[in-house]
Symmetry: C2
């Protein structure tokens, strides 16, 4: 049964080991089954130090109005911090893929993920591309899902079968993830018939409410990309149902990424409510979730609400301690900026879960935001302090 | 020989164990030797979740135009997140100190540092206050320096002897330190004759260029306070020399705090140059120094410039990769956003030092800023994930 990117009608995929990594799959290809371009939309990183593949893909979609026949991906090397030579390499990847598939290079999107600062091993990539093209099949989704991974421990895949369409997706990423989308890639395909502008709007909305709420360490990457391809084979969908499906797949992939976050032992659903605006709630939530003392308290299963309020109070948003309250697992532990009598055993029991729910109510307005936070423990440091 | 806060003419100090902590000194008192109020200035935390002692001290200085006869301090409990009861306790500390010294309660400043969210053990504090008053002497500076510590491994003291004045200071703090001044206290005394407004201006300038450049984990505290008392005993100083002395003492205390930072193995002098403005340079420097991936690379002695540029590119300031360069220990490792050929052994040797120097040049303007960054290693997590 085809999963993720080949579940919808009109798509094939493949993955292979080209030799960028020592042993594991390091390249992936997603293409239309008849090699004709289809509607495409994407959301890219906002980091000004963006990588050449981001420039290449973004440029193509801006020029061609939202269309693609294939997406070529390599992992193990981000082709970032590689200057003009890196852009030339990204273009060469598109050209080689176009050649192997018999499509226009302008209809090929390219993504890379991995170490920053080293040039791509183009000999290996150019040798691997025809292999990928040969292997394309409806059963290639799982190989593709493996080919895009870096520090991930497992592939991330998701499928939603709507009443008149199918939408599938694969993603990679865990550490270095924060609004806006750090070092994560996600690829969605659907057989619904949606025009480019509408597809982009729906994608952006879903990304803002899912991937962009995953905050592991406050960093924003050089390479983040989310691309959706729509073959249109099964006709126009109910748009509300379609938008909801895109959100569901992105949400599911986001949770899978959160569970796989570097060194993670606790995943925190952090809600900020009662802010002066949704934007202020978002800023406060981000400041809390990125605060290392807060994250260490999560690692220690410690309901140290004082640190959360300290982070909210220094976020630059409206804040009045006497109007706040903080709850862990629905149990209020602080009101008006001070301790609130509560069942400490019940709170301790909640803190033992892998998934923790925290609400910080600011009591000033009706602005709300939710982020997924990750604890900070020794595993994160171990993973990220190895010499590059 | 009197050190730190009793070095200048006109001041006495003491420290004691009141019982807030198990064994170590947990209270300190600095007072004028004749119990008359002197000129005072202070800089406080900007965190909106500020603690009651901050409110009490800030209110006094605003009301009395910059004057104090004594500063009472306790450690082990921040009296933060304690609501109106906490404010009453802070006021009671001022009243008890005033009673014991025979001064006005409005001339007594109060500071607390330690755990957030628990009420002060007032019985112990009220019992300890008369003891502190009795112990006041010119030899009490070292005891006072101990009485203000929390997770510090050692006291921080500094003295500058100017041509016509002496300036001494003590400080506490290490973790949870970032612009603007997180969980740190510093107390300076001088025998120079300076008026309140000028003293405040000089202090703020010194604090902005020293304590506020120390960035350990991006958090800003609920309790930070820097207070300077000027007895005026030795007359008007050369103001340039005096301002320079204040800067020197603050800088020296800042470095002592940096060396003592929780879990620190690397102290990084990070300079951002060539920004569009000093403010943009400061924002970029802060974003880089707070980035966990950057900090982990420092822990791993890894010159991973790509992460620094990634952090600069997502800081929200003007950034063009092709105009940047990055240098470790004066050796350029990246130019135009890509790798720059360099002596890797020389860079590796520099990275082995406890003090690392890094420059990120943005190549856009002449804005500059410097921060002191700290690496992120297992020691930090161990210290901060214990249950409160």
């Amino acid at each position: 049964m085809p999963v993720s990117v080949t579940a919808a009608e009109g798509f094939v995929a493949s993955g292979c080991h080209a030799g960028i990594k020592r042993r594991r799959y390091d390249m992936a290809l997603v293409a239309t089954d008849d090699r004709k371009p289809v509607v495409a939309a994407a959301v890219f990183t906002l980091n000004k130090f963006f990588a050449p593949p981001v420039a290449a893909s973004r440029g193509r979609l801006e020029a061609n109005g939202g269309r693609a026949a294939a997406i070529i991906v390599n992992s193990g090397n981000a082709n970032a911090g590689t200057g003009p030579a890196g852009l030339a390499d990204a273009e060469a990847m598109c050209a080689a893929t176009a050649e192997a598939l018999g499509v226009d290079a302008s209809d090929v999107l390219v993504c890379s993920t991995g170490i920053i600062g080293n040039p791509l091993p183009m000999d290996k990539i150019l040798a691997g591309t025809p292999k990928l093209a040969k292997k394309l099949s409806k059963d290639g989704a799982e190989d593709a899902a493996k080919g895009i991974l870096t520090t991930d421990h497992c592939p991330k895949e998701s499928v939603v079968r709507g009443s008149t369409f199918t939408l599938g997706g694969m993603a990679k990423g865990c550490g270095m993830i924060a609004p806006n989308m750090a070092t994560m890639l996600a690829f969605l395909t659907t057989d619904a018939d949606v025009d480019p502008a509408e597809l982009k709007t729906i994608l952006k909305s879903a990304v803002d409410r899912t991937f962009n709420t995953l905050n592991v360490d406050g960093a924003t990457s050089t390479n983040d990309t989310v691309i959706v391809l729509a073959s249109g084979r099964r006709g126009k969908p109910d748009m509300a149902e379609f938008a909801d499906a895109v959100h569901k797949v992105c949400e599911d992939l986001t949770y899978q990424m959160a569970k796989d976050a570097e060194g993670m032992t606790k995943m925190v659903a952090l809600r900020v409510t009662g802010a002066m605006s949704d934007e202020q709630a978002r800023i406060a939530a981000k400041n809390i979730a990125e605060n290392n003392l807060v994250k260490c308290s999560w690692y220690g299963s410690d309901p140290y609400w004082g640190r959360l309020l300290g982070a909210a109070g220094s976020a630059g948003v409206d804040f009045e301690a006497e109007k706040t309250s903080v709850a862990y697992g629905g149990i209020v532990v602080s009101r008006a900026g001070t301790n609130f009598e509560h069942d400490a055993d019940a709170v301790a029991a909640h803190m033992k879960n892998e998934r923790i729910e925290i609400e910080v109510a600011l009591g000033l307005g009706s602005g709300e935001a939710q982020v997924i936070g990750i604890d900070l423990g020794p595993g994160y440091i171990k993973e990220n302090s190895k010499t590059s």
